[in-house]
Amino acid sequence: MPATAYTLTELRTRLAYRWEGTPFWTTADADAALAEACRVWNALTGYWRRRIVVTAPPGDPFVPIPGTIVQTATLTCGGQAVTGPVSLAQLGRLAPNWRRDQATAVGQAPRAWARVGLGALVVWPAPLAAGLGPIAYEVDGVRQTPVLVNPGDTLDAEDALIDLLLGEALHVASFQAGGALLERTLPGHQRLLSAAASRVEAFRRTAWARVLREAEAAERQVPASPEEA
């Protein structure tokens, strides 16, 4: 899918294209609405990624994750990929003693990892080091949402996503006006949620995903002609 680096100025302009006449929002409102749209999308889908190196003491199954990584996606240790994420329940079945299990040799990478909240993960078995030095892990995960501040700041996103984000931003900006405007722009928000639900398995079971599916199904069942009614 084609991806483009859009500047904040371009995004403001494209947002204005979605409204005939003078926008009902200020530049500051537009920036805030775009930032909110990006945050919601990243929270729901983990779209923006980065890779960092973190360290933990040898023999310790807990690996702290800094706040710059919102959620961990993959983990490698000593150049070897670690299987995961598994759930804590799965880890408990796989290795009931995971809290205390340690690698049997220096250099042996963990076999599995699990998330334990946003700020940490656990590995099994905990690796050992030759000396007292820490164990280094390479974490590939969801990074904090880019927030555009200066007109030339850019947002890396595929074109289809930009369309979704602008629809969401217009809906966000309409909150101040409320009433009919908030209602009219609601489909932009619903499209964002639908796209998130189609990307993330966990969301397909949520109530809002069900409501969206029902709304879409109801739309499809609207009779095509009065005779069908």
Binding site: V116, A202, T206
Partner: protein, 216 residues
Amino acid sequence: MTNREVLVLVQAKLLEPGGGDALSWPTGLWTFAEAFAALELRQQHFLDATGLLGGWREQALLPLQDEQTVPDDTIQAVWHGIAEHPDGTCTPLLASERASMDRLLAAWRQRPEWPRVFTWEETGLGRLTVAPAPQTGGRLHLFGPVLPESVDDGAGTEAPMTVPDEWMPYLVYGVLAVLLAKHGRGYDGPRAAYCEGRYQEGLEAAAALARGWADG
């Protein structure tokens, strides 16, 4: 983000001409004390209900008793438990309702062994029931939601939020739902309902993510 930064976002949505620090609410429809209190309430609820931030606790597992006391600040929701035997062997504890527990282990009160299930039910905050009761002492490892640091000291002091920035838009809607539902000149039923819906949307999404960490 800090508590003040979040409330500045709230003010912008309300067209409340604050001074950029969330301490001033010139329209008089709301006070800064109400706003900070709403933020405190919503943050605690968001973390409690979603389990977005989890933490481990370790404490003594007392022998021959099924009810184990846990610290008061443990939120009444433990997702995952481990009973560690003195020999270092760990047994994952399955979360259970009391009724299921009784069916599975009919005589657990009379037959101390090593815990296999736990429940929060019946005993309430600060107590956790394990079954069967441990025949010897050990260690209890509990994984559950983390209580956030307070963001409302009554004076509007700036304090960092515990909820990650990515989920902050939903917290903003949570605060707006409280403020717009206030009976008085600022009351706006439709927008309050909309905001509550958006807040619930965030709760559900965050909870769905967090459930994947413990379940499966």
